[in-house]
Amino acid sequence: MKEIMAIVRMKKTGATKKALVATGVAGFTAVKVIGRGKLVTDTDELEKCREKLLALGLDEVSDAGDTETLVTSFLDGSRFFPRRLFTILAHDEDVPRIIEAITTANRTDYGIGDGTIFVLPVADAVRVRTGEAGEAAIW
């Protein structure tokens, strides 16, 4: 019995839900969270992100100087971004399948910021309605 914690982009919530249902997951919980990832030190990668962000045309909604500082604050790693945290309970043998489904649904061209999946052991689970425990409580 395993608990899968997946942190994904807000916009990918629907795609992740669809992918999970298609994989045959019985149930899951989703929470709004904010988070940040590890520091990106690759300057080429950062420069690419900066160009993409500047090309979005933020100048229309803010002054030119503001855009610079905004983009810099996006890329220096200290800012928290909204993400969706999925919690899924699964049988041991289903874990690779679910991870595969979440990964394919969530990969984007942006790369950085696509999210992370953690797999945690679960000691026990009990279904409240029937009282059945252990593996039977998942599905």
């Binding site: 940040r36 200290s78 928290f80 991870i99 990964t103 990969r107 999210g115 992370t116 953690f118 945690l120």
Partner: protein
Amino acid sequence: MLLIRAIVRPEKKDEVLAGLSEAGFNAATMVDVVGRGKQKGIKIGGMVYDEIPKILILVVIPDGEKEKVVKVILSTARSRNEGAFGDGKIFVSPVEEAYTISKNALGL
């Protein structure tokens, strides 16, 4: 790997996150939560408040770094020097695997 769940005061969150970032653990996830502790909330006048707002910080770290991270959180989340009721808790659970989606690979 280990998952550190730290429940801290909302006003201490920036200090804790700055401390973690300085110690080399920039990645973190936060959720707003409400909760109560051993003291069963706070009693002010006749009212008992047992849904006290806190911030839940989730950090996943490599195995050997537990002491360092716990020390950082303990020193930054404590109010005043001696600490006070309501400063929060730290829970540590094992993580078996971590995948980075963008790299489609195992590892933090």
